[in-house]
Symmetry: D2
Subunit: 342 residues, 4 copies
């Protein structure tokens, strides 16, 4: 039976990506789209690339009749999500794409986001949305917190390896290369084409990127002790894609085997043949993750590289995958579209 879907905050990139994915989903139908500043506008005006679709106009959140909604995606800005979700019906299934419910410990939230958590009572029921690691909890959840896109990319490499104990936990370095859409549709000088194209730089250096809160949480959990990885993202002149390069102390073959065992049954995560590494080109626009493992010329050192599309598997695609689970649908429904190349 077709599920009725609302998207709150549909005028940003993750909102547009949700509409794109759901537009060919066999069991979902969009019945409400909200956008506070653009309420009243047709989606074809906000996103002309969606012109071919028959969609409801953007409205304000308070205009939505949530009794008719099976599940709401919440693609609102950070902090707004906590405020809004508090006001929604307590039995409404929600997938939140913001950072507002990712950190189980509200003190950690306050540390990383600089303000007190506005909905600690909801935090308790929120499930961290890294599908392949919380599948059963997500299936049963009412509120799922989508992961950070950088965090997801890194965790796909690190969680199984930390759990298996096959790498030196105090020597984990994660060097990320990120496309610009991860920063959203914000009007900032450094996101202008003229400032960004044809060059690259690091950002959020020194262990200050907020997604580190997620790494701390998830990796300390499986390590059974506090774990602090080195993590620096770099902004690249491309729109979509994250490439995570993990520099690890461990046996590369063993690492490959651990990842193989962990992911061989997963439809979305593809481990490449040993010795080869992925390209973001090959996952763009898709819900797939490509992971490669290489041994260094110095024995005992390994390189693991993962690629995904930040807007899809790193955000909106993950959200649809989790929604499928929450709604009792086939997990990969609507998500098997091939990447766009070139």
């Amino acid at each position: 039976m077709t599920k009725s879907i609302a998207i709150l905050g549909a005028s940003g990139y993750t909102g547009g990506e949700l509409v794109r994915l759901i537009s060919t989903h066999p069991d979902m139908r969009i019945t409400a789209l909200t956008g506070e500043r653009k309420a009243g506008q047709p989606m074809a005006q906000v996103f002309p690339f969606l012109r071919h679709l028959d969609l409801p106009d953007l409205c304000r959140i308070e205009e939505v009749d949530f009794s008719a909604i099976d599940l709401a995606f919440c693609a609102l800005p950070h902090a707004t999500s906590q405020a809004v979700i508090k006001t929604l019906p307590r039995d409404l299934k929600i997938v939140d794409l913001s950072a507002d419910f990712r950190l189980r410990d509200v003190a950690e939230y306050e540390k990383w986001y600089g303000k007190p958590h506005a909905a600690p009572e909801l935090q308790a029921e929120a499930v961290y949305g890294l599908t392949e690691f919380y599948r059963e909890e997500i299936r049963a959840a009412r509120l799922v917190a989508g992961t950070g896109c950088n965090a997801a990319t890194g965790l796909y490499i690190l969680r199984p390896l930390v759990e298996a104990g096959c790498i030196d936990l105090d020597r984990i370095i994660l060097d990320l290369k990120c496309g610009v859409s991860g920063a959203g549709r914000a009007l900032k000088e450094n996101l202008l084409h003229a400032e960004l194209s044809e060059g690259t730089q690091a950002y959020a250096v020194g262990g200050t990127h907020r997604h580190l809160g997620e790494f701390d949480q998830e990796l300390s959990l499986v390590a059974g002790r506090d774990l602090r990885i080195g993590f620096t993202p770099h902004l690249l002149p491309m729109n979509r894609g994250i490439l995570a390069t993990a520099w690890l102390d461990g046996d590369a073959r063993e690492i490959h085997e651990v990842l193989h065992a962990r992911y061989c049954a997963e439809s979305m995560i593809h481990l490449l043949p040993f010795g080869t590494t992925p390209s973001t080109h090959d996952v763009r626009g898709s819900n797939f993750v490509h992971i490669g493992v290489v041994g260094d010329r110095v024995p005992g050192r390994a390189l693991v590289v993962a690629a995904l599309d930040n807007l899809c598997k790193g955000s909106s695609g993950q959200a649809v995958q989790n929604a499928n689970l929450m709604l009792g649908l086939d997990e990969s429904s609507g998500l098997m579209g091939a990447p766009l190349f070139p």
Copy 2:
């Protein structure tokens, strides 16, 4: 019933795009993929972006059992198509993506392509694959010749207007802006990233672009007399997309009305509100065409701009659309995926 599909020449961009589109087509299944130089290789090696699919390895054309094939897409280089298609079973349905069967008059073929037509007996039965204008012929055809991507973009603007006689036929100017994938996967200096990114230039200037043969053919046909438009393409630093800017002498409102009447029932072609023009961003990766009409400050002059994705609606998507017709399937089956934005 699922149709069995072969793709001849599957290692180029249009071949990869065909696989991408068919991978989510409900009624087609790929049973053979050929590539002479890469025969024996798995597609995941030739195109890692297709890694998630269960596909046959590339083989040589003579290894294909065509008796089990319902339709073959022929994505071979120009000139090779004529030679190969001559050798295929005469009852095999074929959609050819090359330039080899686009020009009905074999003398025109020789003029534009510089060599005699190698299969004139097949040319006679070939239908020009501009779907919205040859739908019934395509439905009945055995051999359909896919259009040039530039030609398609321009013809979507010009054919209805020439037919309606609402523009000055001797004053048609078509200034094209093309992404680089239209040039294929050829190893040429001017297609290198370092030579192409961050700049632009005209090419095939002076009325020498081969797609002019198609404009001559199609527009003279509807005009009832020889018609020679001005046409210059420009190479842009982007991978997909064609933007055609038509400078016309005519009444802009009337032009908009003619195009509206012609396309209002078409699912793939979207006429924008009067006074607005399209962006290639909004059709990338899709089978849609966006067309906009604007009046100039000087009365009697109009601008019509059309955008499509050269690899999809301009080539492989058009091919699938035509194959749907030839196989008795729903015409838009597998082709309603939304564009990828950003």
Copy 3:
């Protein structure tokens, strides 16, 4: 003797480009840089690419001692220039890069810019800064108005041809392709990398682009009657460069000869061999203009294509060239740097 230079509005792209050019100019030294919002900041913070230079910090305009300044470049936003220049000493040499003094007829200014001219008394003495056509006037001028970058590109093609009367004046079409830096450092959604890269679109369609005021003025002047060209710019995914494609009715060989005669003695303007056309790649970062002429297959039709760097020859380089004249320096001083390729 070294000339003392002030740059008003040094925090935008044209301001940064002025500093770049002057940094290796043998006879100019920057003694004041202003930026209202960023006053007090060192230039290395505003533009880290200028870190190697010993420059004054940004200050407010009223802090500048103009008695010590030989010439001021005014790179302020449109409308601000008129207000500021009115307050400057009446004997100060000024090159204005804004649109504020380009149109001799203040009624035309009001028509195109939507507000009354704020300094009509200064307009009377302003010289239009298209160097190769107003060289003597510029040499004697106190106030020179830099041209629009699009206008300059088109006028380099059209002014000699209109003057020579070798083209049909009522059939001039100018299709422009522009890099994004021409839009300045403004925070607009359509200038974000994610919205702009990998696609193209027309803008200011229908004869609404403000640079048309300059075309009207300059071409009507030489034609001796009102002349209205067709003109549409397109935004391209590149940072620098304008490619102007002029579609003309005229004899291509004659056009080439007229342009040759007009430009053969010019050091900055290079006419390509007949039948070839330029690329913006080949002028990027330089003060050169490349122009090519091609005949169409239809006799009597010609294509002329010009390429320049909008920030350099189209704006700041032109400004330095004019300043050289005004200061009695060698006209090409500091401007002979080769383009950056790739």
Copy 4:
């Protein structure tokens, strides 16, 4: 007195960059340009961006009268350099830009380049061209071997730190992000715009990149023992620029001080304020290096990031700087041009 310069192999990117730099050099004049496959062609045809210059046509090496040459730049492909330089006059000053004379130990050359060294007798006199570390040797040298561009970027970070002993020598990780021009003008599928733009990937993984031979040589030298860093380059969708991210175990403040002491007197190398990191945008087209140091949230870990332009400071600019020394000219002559931004 003006020095007479030959450029052997002038049709590649480093050759073109040499011409660009020398075109505004006050004390150098190009008197010979060679290119085997393009002999007889004018440079304006090979590189239209050099059209404004009065240059000799390309010729074959044997046509050059070396008795009139003060210094030859050798921008030939790897392996060709050894063969050619052997045939040149033994008293000709040469700056070689290839990899052929970078490794002092010819066994190391054979190991990394897979063939025996063809000119071991010349290797003995070759000086490694990292200017700031071999300045006096270069001044006295006849044959200088330009460094690898990746090696230069990394060594600017690491050489002083290894020498100072302020970092853990067994824990050095260097994650590089490289623009595509570093791969030269080679016709390879992965260098096509359509394969490269809008994505990224690692290459030469597992410690196989040939520039590791230079890191081994230079760092082991200053460490006084064998030293093997972790090093992986990534190909980015940009034409120029290298960003090297060094992950180090050491005190960030101390590292900053060591680098400050080492570089404060250098005109080309700029250390950023502590806690900030560079962008390749800010050095593009220039001979400058920007280096930044940041402390991690985990005490004892530091991040050092360096940016340079691979074609300029990483190759041709370095070559001119070394040639200046060899010819007794001012070291920075012709090299103080500001970067191109945007």
